[in-house]
Symmetry: C2
Subunit: 525 residues, 2 copies
């Protein structure tokens, strides 16, 4: 990935003319991109790694799989939130891990952790590098040295059982590679978060990722059948059956542990045959409330869509759901997208049931094209975010989830908190939202915020984020539906799980990681 932005260079294109015009009207910026630094010119904090320790780590992974090079360190300096990029682009020396190690397999991961635990070296597990919550910050904690543990070499499909519909991956396998490896067996995972192109299987598990097809295939934590985890206290393998009553489910401690309780090295996931057919349909609703009620009807009836999402009026109006048309002719109402996958008969029955429910709830069919356009552009939004940033415009996202009965109120509360915070700081703000993950009892809410970059954009966003997070916590909703806790949400964890919950997590961490080397900057407040 590009060091100071999302993705690959080819994904970065100039802002379309109509967006530049819009930015000029709303924020008074020209839309001219800023000049960006070359990664070779970025000053880094000097590495702190003694020759002995360097040799010790090299003994585990091999000299050629350990790097203290400038570029390697810089590219492991953090994740890809707007805050990360603002920090990356700031003048002055960047913080970065002191070294990057690339273990070959579970045994080497376990040995690295044992060595670092004994030596007192902080370890930040690193998958695709796509965290947007500060989960990859190179935090040393009480240690002088921090290394990034890059899992890209754990890149194999280790086992595949088409009868049971399971596959075991090394943690470093990326989304596209997982699909490619499975396709050779006629199978698919069906996990398509916005980070799909770069993020890894281990990262999906460690952060409780949720993909755009979660209505059909579940969240990633639902997909996980078995985990192998290396910890400073040894290895744990969890998950012996599709379901079990053998006490607490310890998988659920390691799933979502964000590298703070161990390094997930292998994940067995539920997979399914590549679907025979996919049906796309777009719908328009007069307003967000009507659309949300329609989605609720579909998911509560068990009509079983694969994708089910709804953009609010603002997002629909700006056409953000169809990236190539962003800023084009305004669209009224609220756009919803459904897809259905499976055999032709299965898809026909489900889509007919859902269509009846959506129509009864006030929806109008727009045909498949807007749904296909959404699907086509669905991984592009982070590039647009980067182009806005280049043009002096802040763009960031945050998300939460709550029960259906509280969804509308929560949306208003978060929108108000963000708008008031940014306005008070001296910039207009556009706050847009969508529902992208639905459950019988509730749904996620995903917000996109656009504002003018002020003189101190880091403080600007931290202030707005604090207001939004406080609104979410006050409403009793979750501080994150699929982005994880990382560094950015730690302050709200006691609200989420209580002080006793935090104590339980600390007790588990102390048992597993008594030296406290594992990702000291994340999860626990």
């Amino acid at each position: 990935m590009v060091w100071d932005a999302w993705g690959v260079p080819a994904g970065h294109t100039p802002l379309p003319e109509q967006i530049r015009g819009l930015l000029g009207q709303v924020f008074g910026v020209s839309g001219e991109p800023a000049i960006r630094r070359d990664e070779g010119d970025v000053p880094l904090r000097p590495p702190v790694l003694s020759a002995d320790r360097r040799a010790g780590l090299a003994r585990v992974v091999g000299e050629q799989h350990l790097s203290t090079a400038h570029i390697a360190r810089l590219r492991h300096a953090g994740g890809k939130s707007t805050l990360d990029l603002l920090r990356r682009r700031a003048i002055g020396p960047q913080d970065a891990p002191d070294a990057v190690v690339y273990p070959a397999d579970h045994a080497q991961v376990a040995d690295v952790l044992a060595y670092c635990s004994e030596q007192g070296i902080a370890v930040v597990p690193f998958g695709g590098g796509t965290s947007v919550v500060g989960g990859l910050d190179p935090v040393r904690g009480r240690f002088e040295t921090v290394i990034a543990l890059d899992l890209r070499r754990l890149d194999a499909l280790l086992d595949c059982d088409p009868v049971s519909g399971t596959a075991t991956f090394g943690a470093g396998v990326t989304g596209p590679r997982a699909e490619e490896l499975l396709a050779a067996h006629g199978l698919s995972l069906g996990h398509f978060p916005q980070s799909f192109e770069f993020a890894s299987i281990g990262g999906f598990a460690a952060t409780r990722s949720s993909g755009q097809a979660s209505a059909g295939y579940g969240r990633f934590d639902d997909m996980v059948q078995r985990l192998r985890v290396a910890t400073p206290a040894g290895t744990v393998e969890l998950g012996r059956a599709p379901a079990s009553a053998a006490g607490p489910d310890l998988r659920e401690l390691f799933v979502g542990s964000e590298g703070s309780l161990g390094v997930i090295t292998e994940v067995t996931v539920r997979v399914h045959p590549v679907p025979e057919t996919t049906d796309h349909m777009a719908w328009s609703f007069p307003d967000f409330a009507a659309g949300a009620a329609a989605l609720r009807a579909v998911v509560q009836a068990g009509a079983a869509p694969t994708v089910l999402r709804l953009s609010d009026e603002a997002e629909t109006g700006l056409n953000l759901a169809r990236s190539k048309d962003v800023g084009g002719a305004p669209v009224s109402g609220c756009l919803a997208v459904t897809t259905f996958e499976g055999s032709a008969a299965h898809v026909a029955a489900r889509s007919a049931e859902a269509a009846d429910l959506l129509r009864a709830a006030g929806g109008t069919e727009l045909g498949p094209d807007p749904a296909r356009a959404w699907e086509h552009g669905r991984f592009a939004a982070p590039y647009l975010r980067d182009a806005l940033l280049d043009a002096g415009v802040l763009c960031e996202t945050l998300e939460t989830a709550t029960t259906w009965n509280r969804l509308a109120e929560l949306k208003t509360q978060v929108t108000t908190a963000l708008t008031e915070s940014l306005t008070a700081q001296g910039t207009p703000a556009l706050v847009m939202g969508h529902i992208s993950h639905t459950y019988p009892t509730g749904a996620s809410l995903y917000f996109t915020v656009v504002a003018k970059l002020l003189d101190d954009p880091i403080t600007q966003w931290l202030t707005a984020k604090q207001a939004a997070g406080d609104a979410i916590a006050a409403a009793g909703a979750t501080i994150t539906h699929h982005h994880a806790v990382g560094a950015d949400h730690r302050r709200w964890l006691p609200d989420e799980i209580g002080e006793l919950g935090v104590r339980v997590l600390r007790a588990v961490k102390h048992e597993i990681d008594p030296a406290g080397i594992l990702n000291p900057g994340t999860l626990l407040p």
Copy 2:
């Protein structure tokens, strides 16, 4: 419940003539019921509860809600496994809790735990009393006194949200009462384990219960949205949204903790509208392998049955799936049952899709009657078990789960282990099985074992159970799919979650329950 058997007196009927004949042929027993003792005549270990402590507990719950009476102690002396009943019926003094306390609400539960933690009194949380794994054994651990904490007074529907489809129950609400309370709102929970008539909401959560409609409505752990748990270290409330990425899911530590980490006092569960219609259908398959493949096809296609089960040849032959016909004319092949619930259109589409798959896999439709007969008698099996026991015949069940590709081999391994163990001990054995819970990646296996009661029936069953459990562990399957760990499965927990997993659970317990008062006889080895 009856002190030395399942259920209510009215449920107990003599063995049908045709079964007595069968027992005579196979086991050489007459089928004459043994005389059972009156509960007033059973000698109990004298209670150990000082006057001070009695007064201390009475201060929390009120004098009238604390009992040291013989009958109260005896009825809280354990669960309802065959082993429990054999022990209950043995000559000599019975062990029993020293007192039974009946708190009114969460606050009183918390206060009881605080008092017992300070005083060093072991506490066995008690819901419906239906454990079949020794989860209610009145074990004192290192304390001289053990009390049963009976949650029956926590019997309210505390909140109901028909929009989100959630309901919050006190832990003591029983299965039928939950359905009754929800029916007033047009809602249903749809959790129908065999213990349904007596077991409680808190018990369902504490043991990871799974009901017969799990294909449609999920296991109980899937249904849980929010928990309130009283512990000696304070109260924890978990579950803020339908789904969250806010770190490890601590609900999954308390769900399945079997009273060893806290007392679940309130549970918010997913509910659904009372279905418009239910479609019943029975199927016959030539053999178990064909039937299992057919069930797999249905669940992997997402055809979404509500109930999906398959009896093996032995169970089908004895008609155990239809309790009123047990021992009647033998039936060949393997019986499968499906039900579908929802709107008429929803049910029609799903049942048609499933029927196509079942037919393609070699199934023959038998019409709805055998499925309705199964449903009608589905809570009766424990009464039949008791009648067999009265007649000198051992009858017990055990269960596991594994992936589809290992199901047939596991079934053979467990059947062989049970048969060989019992035969070696000097009795023929009938081992029957069924699949009653299905998942895209695998299924449960439920075994019913019938043998002649030998002179030392407790050792007889412990020996057979050990053989079956070892076979399950050696196969890498789970030691329990929905019965929980209790006392009976503790020895296999290190196989299941590893030594490090056990250490993690101990660390959590030490943090929450430093005195170790909570259910010392269960879960942790």
